[in-house]
Subunit: 345 residues, 4 copies
């Protein structure tokens, strides 16, 4: 049993970690850190976990949380992870950060998009971008994982094999993404109220959402040449679910090659499912699971390849992927504790 | 591994069985019966099970389904179970019927409410009402379980300990119940359309819903005297979830006794959770789980005891309870394959 | 054209007033008061009113709001209306209060339920309980209307004719009510977040909700003897809509009499619709309208009469009723500016 | 008062016509045609219209419907309108067709996309494409209006001024559209069930949706050169609402010119609202209204102009626009009977 703490345990991604870790057969949950609910029983904050989780919340900076755990999950707002990661690493712990602080390899890019200084270069170098389908071997060896953003997970899983195989024009990439409301977190905002979000949908973050450089970084590495993206996120009235509709220009004429490449890269992947041509995934088909489902369509009239990529934003888009990384870092079976059957209907 | 078939596998309760059985560590799913999708892959009907379930649907009356299985689940429309149950029993199989045909012990009552003749008395005598919290020992020994209705599950779990201990006036019982839309099944009805059910709620089945006699039968046995119920079901726009708000008149003045009795009956139950006074369960806290959560409040002004009982209508209200019965009938641990952590948020 | 101000214009009931007043052919909207959005254009707060409303928000206590208007709507949190009502009346204005401060005639009852001192008795005496179907003539003559609560509107319209005609047992009254989420207002609460309220339903306010004494006050007057209610409110995941399922014991055996009395009282009412026996209203059928729809069912087995009463909680339950009162106070046609066609589907 | 009939009155667009026409001050609704509910009261089909509409449904081909009306709305499934339009025109009536049969000017294109023969060329020549913002004067003079599709309404209103002014590259046009579920109509399909559509979103109609040629036809006319579109529709879990997120390549560098052109074309339009740069419309802000709201953003990094266009799919996307056309054809004020205040929240 590996001992685990979660810092930022009372937000939605924190809760999603706790929910799943509570059932993980190789994990003992030892500490839950929070700002707002210190000294309160976790089930007072999340009563659905009555008789499942019996821990009491601690202050985020309670040293217990790092000292008593072997693996530390950081589910904190962007910009707050660095000191906790440093402390964890200094004590020889494994750290998985669900925030953005270690995702961008270039500190200049971080500064440009986040308007603040990020981690030191030395720390950055230790961090591995935690997308197991790309970086599995590196993740197994590192002590610091930068868990990918939800939108980038949909985009990179859909695109990196095709860019790596030079099947797509790197100068043409439009990603129209849709997210469920839980992606906005549990903080109190008028726009997150039921009466506002219900029966509504909208665009947000135009024209420059912070997930764009993360997508570009990984796809540029795959393509071996600069990839620039037009990225437009939307909010859709579901609690969970994320879809990216991706518009690309293929450099080949034999479209069957697309499916071949996907199968070559993903047929052994436990959490990626490829749909046959003419079938497209729906968000509900991955609800509560750690799957990324991919489908695609070629529009011969306009010579564009459209790729549909769906995940559950809280699971493969955040906490499920983090547990997948835990499994790799700890030498467990990669699927341990991770749901593969959607809640349907 | 016990071999299992599901007849009526493409309705929502059938699908909920298949979803959960696919993960059950002691079950091998061997056959899926259906009327509408014969010879089609099950994942064509329910694509979220891609790479999880690879069976092809068979005609409901395909002899394979009974011959090759040791346990047969019947998730058929009311009135169709009898011949399949007879065949199963004749071949020495275990049968769990999720319909209403074996729930009412008195054939006259069945005829009065369903306007048709039910099973023979001989068959009826073999059937055990499959509420494990009441009939655990009988269920372990029988080969024919009548799985309770969803509304009766909420009502009987909330009330039978209190009636058994003579704490409630048997002449005063009002049950105001609310169900999610999946309770109406997957059949095509205008009232089940998204655009109709969304942003709406309504009463239905007034004044005489068929679940009333089932509730009365079990509570009358508990009370040792006739209990009659005013029962009003409503439809609420959620996919899953059921709540009964129950109005009763206590015969005692010490209300702490209520909680005591609940704890006495249920503290060892794996799927019943009692809330302390002043806290009330919400349907989302049991979403996807096999829990029945109970809370209560005493209105001193009017001397009425109000009990709140919630379940997931597809799980504890149907298929989860059926698997709980399977576990008992087969000597497995009672919680095997049954979710205890809700999908939240 | 009558000049109108709304104090508390940026909450949901305030917005609902503004929405409808903007189209009212006899109203000129002159002032909008708020705490949180002073000096901001109203369309910045509610962009759907772009090109419809071009006022800028003022501080709630800006004297302009009362001085420049002939009618003042108070859509403030409970307990804050008294000083504004006093100022308005002192300047000879008409005041319609959508809060609770003037609804309870007995100051002791107000103190017991609201834990504070309410208005002076002198002020209370001027207030008319603004349910037009009961108090139409008094409303026409008063300068101070206490607009009813949403739950009491459903309950009193369903019950006062039957209590007045002595058709119901005054010792037996259970009201199981369900409200849409907009009833909780626009203030920021975790329980009002989309991800929490969506796909959930729950009870709240047990065992003593503040709307109970308001219901009892009006029904006791109708019955001529004390009526006590068991009242249980629930939250249902729709934005708008409210239903009360009301359990009563009739003192008569000829149930047709119920419909007769309803028709006698309501056949000329522009905003009450009676459904024939066997048909029951749904909340969506009144969405956006000022209707209260009523249906009923007699359960001969248990001798109980069940009444279903539905409204849109923001319209007939608050702002629509307030405009109905404005029409009466100003001598306009009672239906002016009030929607009678639901938004459906 | 002009006498009006609606054929196909019991589908959602038919109902939306009836809802609004019932309040139209210059319209007398005389006949409602249907296939499924002949001889039934319309309020049995749509009970929310109790006391508002008291007509009884007639068979679609009942001659009364055309003979007794001056204006005929055809809200029929695609391919069924031609004979009714012919009869109406032969009797000198005005005809507004909400289906697709008269929208495509080129019979070859119709055949290619609909796999059947459309109307005669003679009939086609009489038809005016009923987008008032483009064809107002032609609509005033014609007797046959082809009411635009919902998706094309969002796309064409967003784009035709910019193509007409040669501001956009005609070879680059991607439209990612999202529709509420009511767009699928009231017919019974598994995918339209609440339990399926709720908490889900998905793409459909890939790669060739029938609305693409309609969009191309009108934009090609505006551009004076061929415009080809990549068009991807999605289904989003709301009842009403439609958004198109449109990706284009501007031929100019001064982006303020975009807003100027929009203001030049639309500042006098009663049903088009332009948002200032940095603000984007949400679907709920037009819920129940006849507005098309437009916002846009220039992504300087990728040199792409993104336009957001939203409508209520049943109102400006179908029935509201049809009534706008009625107003033009009959010489009424264009906004008569058309809602301009959204139902919010």
């Amino acid at each position: 049993m590996v001992k685990v703490s979660v810092l930022g345990a009372t937000g939605y991604t924190g809760q999603e970690l706790v929910r799943m870790l509570a059932l993980h057969p190789e994990v003992a949950l030892v500490g839950l850190g929070t700002q707002s609910y210190v000294d309160r029983a976790y089930v007072d904050v999340y009563p659905h976990l009555r008789q499942i989780v019996d821990l009491t919340c601690r202050q985020t900076d309670d040293p217990f949380l790092i000292e008593q755990a072997e693996v530390i999950f950081l589910a904190l707002p962007h910009g707050l992870s660095v000191p906790y990661a440093e402390k964890g690493l200094a004590q020889g712990k494994k750290v998985i950060d669900l925030g953005a602080d270690f995702r961008l390899e270039n500190p200049e890019v971080y500064r440009a998009w986040y308007k603040k200084t990020g981690p030191t270069e030395e720390l950055l170098k230790q961090a591995v971008y935690g997308l197991p389908e790309i970086n599995r071997e590196l993740i197994k060896k590192t002590k610091l994982v930068a868990n990918p953003g939800c939108y980038p997970t949909t985009a990179i899983l859909a695109l990196y094999p095709l860019f790596q195989e030079k099947l797509l024009d790197p100068s043409f990439l439009i990603i129209d993404s849709k997210s469920g409301v839980s992606g906005a977190g549990r903080s109190l905002k008028t726009t997150s109220l039921y009466s506002e979000a219900n029966e509504d949908f909208k665009v947000y973050g135009l024209p420059h959402h912070r997930h764009a450089p993360e997508i570009e970084q990984e796809l540029t590495k795959a393509a071996g040449t600069e990839v620039t993206v037009t990225f437009t996120p939307h909010l859709v009235p579901v609690t969970r679910g994320m879809m990216s509709t991706i518009y690309t220009r293929p450099l080949i004429t034999d479209i069957d090659k697309i499916e071949e490449v996907y199968r070559e890269y993903y047929s052994e992947e436990p959490f990626v499912r490829i749909y046959p041509q003419g079938q497209y995934p729906q968000t509900k088909w991955v609800q509560g699971t750690n799957f990324c489902d991919l489908g695609f369509s070629f529009d011969a009239r306009t010579q564009r390849l459209i790729i549909i990529s769906v995940i559950d934003n809280l699971t493969k888009g955040a906490s499920g992927q983090a547990i997948q990384n835990l499994n790799l870092m700890c030498g467990f079976e990669e699927t341990l504790g991770l749901p593969q059957v959607a809640l349907f209907p």
